[in-house]
Symmetry: C2
Subunit: 563 residues, 2 copies
């Protein structure tokens, strides 16, 4: 059965292997929610499946359930009232451990084949997942579909491809023959078993519950580990659907479905989590969330392999441009997309205080700021269209952050409240842009997650790049963007990005935005600065999730004791 | 120049790549110290080079030298009196950081090519290194030559091969073209830079200063890091010679020799080390040594990637044999080789208290013990031959351990003092074997590093295997050995080794011994139990020593801003 799935997906796997070694554009899954790609009834069926989960109990069928949890709130104001099983932790982890032994024995082809089958089934449920992502994260539908569905599935496939790329190079057996001068050679038969670490814990976030969790989930599964999926209390549904699909495939393949389990919790689960992550039986932790929680795990969970993505300060350096309007349009989109609630969204925009050269002559710092303000206002001018870009605000902390930013004064552009034409109770806010001086480091060197950005006046572009590099290295960053028509500045920016170990985007003016990270091509985070200790996805992300245990014996004894 | 070295060694590299994927027998370097392999004058030249270092100052030519260190003592009684530069740590690390930038820029082919050239030069100095290993570790000459020379060089080459196997799969550039329905596609040019972590610190041990340090040293170098080599105060010379050779090759290749530096210290450097390993600029640590020091580093050096090999409790399970004499001969060799001062040497031998079946009928527990005693006494019967097997005792702690073991009573075989025919002051001890009951766990579950082993009476082989597995998982182990003529017992032993994540040797009766770990074929440590958090060598050992930093821009702007 498992080998059936491996054979079924082998050509996909070889395409994916080629993609991770060339890292050009490749995607297995169609990002357009079109009937042509997903079938005439997919959209309706998916929405119906989502609606069927509302105001009801989400059955997982896993052991150790003791009552219910579930306090998700839709940022669009839709009433969810979904209940999930409250797991007895001991029972759940015992079940996971019990499932481990057969799963461990199944071997790499089974792990990879079943992982790929699960991903395919997830793709078929992309519409249901899209609605669940939309109404937990506040993403507009199109983004919820793309980032929560096909793009997340591509990231999952990418992780499986990296895992297989390591696993396939480990020989199952070896014949060892060592010459002994004139005597007969020493000969041995050796076997190499890939052995998983054990229980992997995947801790999701509230903004990209699937996109950020799938790489760890599937890297664990594809290397033979069992996985406990622990969603953020505010975004349980997308991962609950994921776990249910995974369990169904595992059962069909003849395995214990407890290889993948759900650990749903209610808000205020901090103490519970602090006890969970240091358990000796938790061998791998994939975490996406706040710097404080991520740092706590890195500091205390010494028994586990830890992969974290935390917060950072993303930056744009503007040195010189051909046409500020075109540059501003691109940046405005990045600031507005999902109201800046992306870990890749830019926050600090460094501009020399004496302005920048353009093809039409020099423009002042304030003219650069005004251009950015105008671009955002133009982009979001029509509320009906704007909400499809901004989506809604995920949580009240972000609203409070907007208030704090407003209190700073120096506003270039204030955040506005928009009314969503379809969801009157949706909490929609447009970007706030403030003007700061480089001396205001205490403000702009912290992460202001949400629709808050700062245009910071620096002494020079050289100054801007040094600041950007230092900030990436010390505070962490997932993205750095530079605008310059001067090759020497670009070269300096490249050095700055290497020193800060942060991905660099150069002169983005077209249809690509700094927030975007494409599976199979863009490495998401370098793992080399405080924003993340791992990269999505590279060999280091998978290679330590398993070990190799060997055995050897003299060939002569093979007849006597077959192994 | 660097590419010259890469081209020069490319065929060796491809053979090594094939070897790590097949893991049969392969060795680049001849393990026999023969004129045919190393040249007529090699032996004499090497000994002369070694003798020239005695009673003198070992010049490295690195910055920041403040006086001298050096208190090495030859276990064979030879007077060494070698002095080494005492480094000013700040100056040394500043020099290493200064060397990093050009080295980082040189790129994978330069890193790998120069690493391979250094390894080749080390091989040419195998005789000098052999004498230096012999007179610091106490290894007999043949072992010092093989383990300290060619075998260590093979392990170095293996690490470089694993590094290159990862590096070669990272594309330098990518062309990204994303279809846009009917519109013209989005196109981008992407560049991927391999970026080293920074300063790697390699901490050597006093028994295998080259064999255990080369993998980390060359894994660092081959991935673009700079390396500070910190030998054990009792075994500085082998690594000092290594560093001097590395610096010479680096200079010839046109690089700053401070890419590799020596940090020699005197005994009692504990406080100094505790400050060193937590420095923010130390990004990678490779450690071989005691569990207490290794655990301290794992606990405190949160800023670094850490690869440790610590202590463990290696075990042999005897269930049933064809001929106990043949089995005993193999085990006796493992107990006697380098007086049990190998991290892979067996310590606990589990035998059912009611004896074991053989081809000639059942023999009692005491008969098994007597057989092992007789085998050791026969093997070491001729002192002149014995010392070439046992070598000398590296440090006084091991002598004290022999005393403590003797005080336990229950001796099957007492440790004897042997006089070395060539080195009258050599400290030579034969193995001590004591008989214990499984209830004496407080004794045999600790590591007794040195020529001390225990024959432990268990309730049954099933009991023995459960104990062995549990002990490997909880105390750590590098080796597990089983003797049985029963396939079901072998299968149980395989499960036990997988549960304990320890390498298993089955029915070793010929010319292979459980202590031996062959480069390119045997994984040394699994990294899955407390004896070590890493394996020599696998992808996980190299994949996190570097990061990838990417940059991207629209193709359209290529003409405008060439990158």
């Amino acid at each position: 059965m498992s080998h059936t799935f491996f054979a079924k997906h082998e050509s996909t796997l070889s395409k994916a292997l080629n993609a991770i070694q060339t890292r050009g554009y490749w995607s297995l899954f169609n990002e357009m929610p079109s009937p042509r790609a997903y079938g005439e009834t997919a959209a309706g069926d998916g929405e119906a499946a989502f609606k069927a989960t509302l105001n009801s109990y989400f059955e997982i069928g896993q052991p150790g359930t003791e009552g219910e949890v579930g306090k998700e709130v839709s940022p669009f104001g839709l009433q969810l009232s979904i209940k999930y099983p409250r797991a007895n932790l001991e029972t759940l982890l015992d079940a996971a451990s019990a499932a481990l032994k057969d799963w461990r024995r199944a071997g790499p082809q089974a792990w990879v084949g079943i992982s790929l089958e699960i991903i395919e089934r997830l793709n078929a449920s992309s519409f249901e997942i899209a609605h669940s992502v939309m109404h937990t994260t506040g993403q507009a539908f199109m983004m919820a579909f793309q980032a929560g569905g096909p793009h997340a599935q591509d990231r999952a496939l990418e992780a499986v491809a990296y895992a297989w790329n390591q696993l396939k190079d480990i020989p199952a057996t070896a014949y060892w023959e060592k010459p002994q001068g004139n005597g007969s050679p020493l000969t041995m038969e050796k076997h190499f078993s890939v052995v998983p670490r054990g229980i992997g814990l995947v801790i999701g976030c509230c903004t990209f519950p699937t996109w950020n969790s799938y790489p760890g989930l599937f890297a664990d599964l594809a290397t033979g580990n069992v996985v406990v999926v622990k969603p953020h209390p505010a975004a349980i549904l997308p991962l609950a659907i994921t776990v249910r699909i995974a369990r169904k495939v595992l059962s069909e393949a003849g395995f214990d479905p407890n290889i993948v389990t759900l650990l749903a919790t209610d808000p205020g689960d901090g103490d519970f989590m602090q006890k969970l992550v240091v358990r000796p039986d938790v061998k791998i932790i994939d975490f996406t969330g706040s710097t404080s929680n991520g740092a706590w795990i890195e500091e205390h969970a010494r028994q586990a392999q830890i992969y974290t993505e935390k917060a950072g300060v993303n930056q744009i350096v503007i040195d010189s441009v051909e046409d500020m309007k075109i540059v501003a349009r691109n940046i405005a989109f990045s600031l507005s997309l999902y109201s800046g609630q992306m870990c890749t969204a830019p926050q600090n925009i460094y501009v020399p205080r004496d302005g920048i050269p353009t093809a039409n002559g020099r423009i002042s710092f304030d003219e650069v700021a005004a251009s950015l303000r105008d671009a955002v206002e133009t982009l979001l001018g029509d509320p009906a269209k704007a909400v499809e870009l901004t989506g809604a605000i995920q949580n009240v902390g972000i609203l409070e952050r907007i208030e704090s930013a407003r209190a700073l004064g120096k506003l270039v552009l204030d955040s506005k409240v928009l009314t969503h034409p379809l969801f009157p109770d949706a909490v929609v806010r447009t970007p706030l842009i403030a003007k700061l001086d480089v001396s205001d480091a205490a403000t702009y060197l912290n992460e202001w997650f949400g629709p808050v950005s700062f245009i910071v006046a620096t002494d020079s572009t050289h100054h801007s790049l040094a600041l950007a590099s230092r900030t990436a290295a010390s505070k962490g960053a997932l993205t750095l963007s530079v605008y310059s028509t001067d090759k020497s500045v670009i070269d300096e920016a490249i050095e700055a990005s290497i020193d800060g170990q942060v991905a660099l985007s150069i002169n983005l003016t077209g249809g690509v935005f700094v927030n975007q990270s494409a599976a199979f091509s863009d490495f998401h985070a370098t793992g080399g600065n405080p924003a993340a200790n791992a990269s999505l996805t590279d060999p280091a992300f998978v290679a330590n999730r398993f070990r190799v245990v060997q055995r050897r014996q003299h060939i002569a004894q093979r007849a006597q004791v077959p192994v």
